[in-house]
């Protein structure tokens, strides 16, 4: 009940943001954060369930953005038809990419995922006759009649709708047998396989789902921002931000990436305003990532709920100690 209330209050707050935003600039920053929330939640289908730490998700983001832009400008698709068609193309592309990259685990997978980004970056930069290269690609506006602030507001809600869809899908997988198999892969892939889980298929399917949501986020970004450049669309830095957000919030939790995106996203926007001309925002991000890994390896949500549990029930220590004590007791009784 309390959870439901918190959920409704959180959703209400997020949806009320455009009305509360003091100026269009803040509103546009909100769109950026909402976009990050979509990307981090989409990343968490792979990172959270299977434990495969992909630094390559920005490739799906960029491909979704460019796919949408190119389908509109070169093939004359209507804006939103282009968005979904681009996502479908990215989903199809992810199948061979995934088959290749998911063969390796751990650090090797991270490196392969980075390589994928660098390859698409090179292709999109050098194939400038088609992609516009570093001169950029201008994407026609989806709603030409809207004024700037209204435009931001519409896209803010579109990103929120996409976020809701991604959260719903994550929740559904989390409680399903499919999700159980994915989590078993995260814990011990060989063991999961020896119990009959078709691990390669599981990983590939969830990667395609993850890439599709990421591509939809990219496509929506293209329609909102209206100008694409390979160096930004395929930036490893964006990938790193996405991973940082998910880790900070907590990858085992439905709302972890969203919470992480709110914190990191707002911090990034703030740093850009205050120290935009320097590289200090990069230093700050690096420090934040280090702090999270060292002090809250499970993320903010579990750390806070542990803390809350300790404050609310001061007599008990952490869950883990209690269960260890219980174990001793039950063993003694046996």
């Amino acid at each position: 009940m309390l959870r439901l209330l918190a959920l409704v209050a959180g959703a209400g707050l997020i949806l009320a943001f455009p009305a509360l935003a003091p100026n269009p600039y803040i509103l546009s920053a909100g769109v950026v954060v909402a976009n990050y929330a979509v990307l981090a939640t989409a990343w968490n289908f792979v990172g959270g369930f299977t434990g495969y730490m992909s630094l390559g998700h920005v490739a799906y983001f960029g491909l979704g953005a460019y796919g949408t832009g190119l389908l509109i400008t070169k093939a004359g698709f209507p804006s939103f038809a282009a968005l979904f068609a681009a996502a479908a193309i990215v989903a199809a592309l992810t199948v061979p990419l995934g088959i290749a990259s998911l063969r390796v685990r751990g650090a090797s997978f991270v490196i392969v995922s980075i390589a994928q980004v660098l390859i698409v970056l090179l292709v999109f930069q050098s194939w400038s006759s088609f992609t516009g290269g570093s001169r950029g690609l201008v994407v026609p506006r989806a709603f030409p009649d809207l004024l700037r602030p209204e435009h931001h507001e519409v896209f803010y809600y579109l990103f929120c709708a996409l976020l809701a869809a991604a959260l719903l899908a994550w929740w559904a997988i989390d409680r399903s047998r499919f999700g159980m198999g994915l989590k078993a892969i995260r814990e011990d892939e060989d063991k999961a396989q020896s119990l009959g889980t078709a691990t390669s298929d599981y990983k590939l399917i969830v990667l395609v789902v993850s890439a599709t949501f990421t591509a939809l986020g990219g496509g929506l970004y293209a329609l909102w921002f209206g100008d694409l450049d390979p160096i930004f669309q395929f930036s490893i830095l964006t990938s790193a931000y996405i991973v940082l957000m998910a880790l900070l919030g907590g990858v085992r939790h439905l709302f972890g990436p969203l919470v992480g995106a709110l914190i990191v996203g707002c911090a990034l926007e703030y740093f850009k305003v205050e120290y935009g001309s320097t590289q200090l925002h990069l230093v700050a991000t690096g420090l934040l990532l280090g702090a999270v890994v060292m002090f809250m390896p499970d993320g903010i949500i579990p750390a806070c709920s542990n803390l809350a549990a300790r404050l609310l029930h001061p007599g008990e220590s952490s869950i883990r100690e209690v269960s260890a004590a219980e174990l001793l007791e039950t063993e003694a009784r046996r």
Binding site: A172, R175, S176, R177, F178, G179, M180, G181, K183, A184, E187, D188, D190, K191, A192, Q193, S194, L195, G196, T197, A198, T199, S200, R320, S323, A324, E326, L327, T330, E331
Partner: protein
């Protein structure tokens, strides 16, 4: 009438670089029995295990189960064919609860059943049954990493049983286990065997092997050098030489 066929290998070979870990091993395991696989360290027992369960692809040779070829098949397909296995150093899902550790093994064939809740009441009842059987039902809500090593061994066995295999491969079930727990494990193996499950046990504890098994296969340098009932094996000069160096 011939006995039903179980796990068989023909000329199974696997080399790592210059070392031939399994060297043309032709082995037939007896259906419905407790088979033991013994041999000195490095004689290729675990590699043989891994080849048979698909964790490693053999270089040559064949493996079949109940007459069906399983050579080089993916581990999950071999598992679904009815072979379950434990690992040498007990492997569980550390950050899942004890109950969830078992629910991973639930088969989900169709897309619809994949998307249904992983906490199916019937499956939970079945899982509890197995936890009770191995004696850790009181721990079902605890994260598996908080269990003692012995309890983790029992949990691993329960997980294997949840997948309902006809044949169970145990890699050193006695390793790192106290005598009381060992008694519990061997009693379980005997019961499960009486219920019709075939066992294949890799073990160093000779006492356990001799008391538990119906059929012993001795490995040395990647291939079987002797096989037979435990009494015969105990006095076989080739076994004594390979194993004890006498």
């Amino acid at each position: 009438m011939t006995a039903p066929r179980s796990l068989e290998t023909v000329e199974l070979t696997k080399a790592f670089g210059g070392v031939t870990a399994v060297d043309g091993a032709t082995v037939t395991f007896q259906h419905g029995k407790v088979n033991a696989l013994i041999g000195p360290n490095g004689s290729g027992k675990t590699t043989f295990f891994n080849c048979v369960t698909g964790m490693i692809k053999p270089d040559s040779g064949r493996a079949s189960y109940r007459g069906e070829d399983i050579t080089g098949k993916a581990p999950h397909k071999i598992a679904r064919a009815g072979i379950g296995r434990s690992f040498q150093l007990c492997r569980i899902f550390p950050r899942m609860t004890v109950l969830d550790n078992l629910l991973v093994a639930v088969r989900a064939g169709t897309l619809k059943s994949q998307l249904t809740s992983s906490r199916d009441p019937e499956e939970i009842e079945r899982a509890r049954g197995w936890l009770q059987r191995v004696g850790i039902e009181h721990l079902e809500g605890i994260e598996a990493r908080n269990l003692s090593y012995g309890q983790q061994k029992l949990l691993e066995l329960a997980g294997v049983l949840m997948a309902d295999p006809d044949t169970i491969l145990l890699d050193e079930p006695a390793g790192g286990v106290n005598p009381a727990l060992l008694g519990r494990i061997s009693a379980l193996v005997r019961q499960l065997n009486a219920e019709g499950r075939t066992f294949l046990v890799v073990e160093h504890n000779m006492e356990l092997v001799m008391s538990l098994s119906d059929h012993v296969i001795v490995f040395d340098r990647g291939r079987p050098i002797a096989e037979g009932p435990p009494e015969t094996i105990k006095s076989d000069p080739r076994v004594l030489e390979a194993y004890l160096g006498v």
